[in-house]
């Protein structure tokens, strides 16, 4: 198990593989982001995106799924306080295959809670062509060794 003490600034990880399907893009959009370019092939073709694209928040959801599958099982994390500087850089389309590259940027000890700390992790989500589609800096809570 990886605790706060074990995390090193500069540490880099590459993980995840998420196949984006048309059905899932539409399902997410129907529930949470019902804009025409996320919902409807025809309307999306006529939009500035030229075809169906995933909701940016759906890309965020796919990102956290990859984090849950690859990193959480071996890390003593306890959720997240949020994130900074999220950028949606390229459209995510049906058929895309996404992966993540993460770099630890900073470790912040908690003054009020000595049992944990915050780790700033910069992540880039890329597609099968190596284009970065989304980037963000997450504030992840790591527990310290007891």
């Amino acid at each position: 198990m990886k605790f706060f003490e074990d995390v090193e600034v500069g540490e880099t990880t590459r993980f995840g593989r998420y196949e984006v399907t048309r059905e899932e893009i539409i399902e997410y959009a129907r529930q949470f982001d019902p804009q025409p370019f996320h919902l409807d092939e025809e309307a999306a073709r006529a939009s500035m995106f030229g075809g169906l694209i995933a909701s940016g928040w759906h890309t965020g959801a796919m990102f956290i799924r990859m984090v849950c599958d690859s990193m959480v099982p071996t890390a003593a994390t306890s959720g997240s306080m949020g994130f900074d500087d999220l950028k949606w850089l390229k459209p995510v389309r049906p058929g895309d295959v996404l992966f993540v590259e993460s770099v630890v940027r900073e470790k912040i000890e908690s003054r009020s809670r000595p049992d944990r700390g915050t780790v700033k992790i910069e992540s880039r989500v890329s597609n099968q062509r190596g284009e970065v589609v989304m980037s963000l800096v997450s504030l992840v809570i790591y527990m310290r060794r007891a």
Binding site: Y28, Q31, F32, D33, P34, Q35, F37, M48, S55, G56, W57, G60, A61, M62, I64, R65, C68, V72, S78, G79, S80, M81, G82, F83, D84, D85, L86, K87, W88
Partner: protein
């Protein structure tokens, strides 16, 4: 139609509200954020949260739905978002909570290259006790009023 020109700094809008159900909280978490304190009520009781809490990404998804519905009500010519400055999950969100969305325009500026403009806004999701549970600073893009773009 509400275009970029129609957004004024300081303008505040209520986005409406939504109820958090255990069923929907679990369904989202099982698909996208399967951490025990989001997916397993028993494990959640043992965690530092003391009970099931919603995925932060789920609360953002609900914020998005309220925003889309509000934009539709005012017939805004929204064309997506390049990103967010920050997002903070300040309070746990639990089944039974009711979250109300509100937003305020902080800054507006036109695109130099396209017939669109940008709006920087604060968006908050506030629970039934008046606590801000989610706070976002984000940017949205809107079409320019036809004929108005220089």
């Amino acid at each position: 139609m509400k275009y970029w020109e129609d957004f004024k700094i300081g303008e505040a809008t209520d986005l409406g509200s939504c109820a958090i159900t255990e069923e929907e909280t679990l369904a989202f978490a099982r698909k996208y954020d399967p951490q025990p304190f989001h997916t397993d009520p028993e494990a959640a009781r043992q965690s530092i949260f003391g009970g099931l809490i919603a995925s932060g990404w789920y609360t953002c998804a609900l914020m998005m739905r309220l925003s889309v519905e509000a934009a539709r009500r005012e017939d805004a010519a929204a064309t997506g978002s390049p990103g967010l400055d920050s997002c903070r999950w300040l309070k746990p969100v639990r089944p039974g909570d009711v979250l109300a969305g509100r937003t305020e325009v902080l800054e507006t500026w036109p695109s130099k290259t396209r017939p669109i403009g940008f709006v920087r806004r604060r968006v908050e999701m506030v629970n039934q006790r008046g606590e801000v549970a989610v706070a976002i600073m984000g940017i949205t893009m809107y079409e320019r009023r036809p004929g108005a773009a220089a």
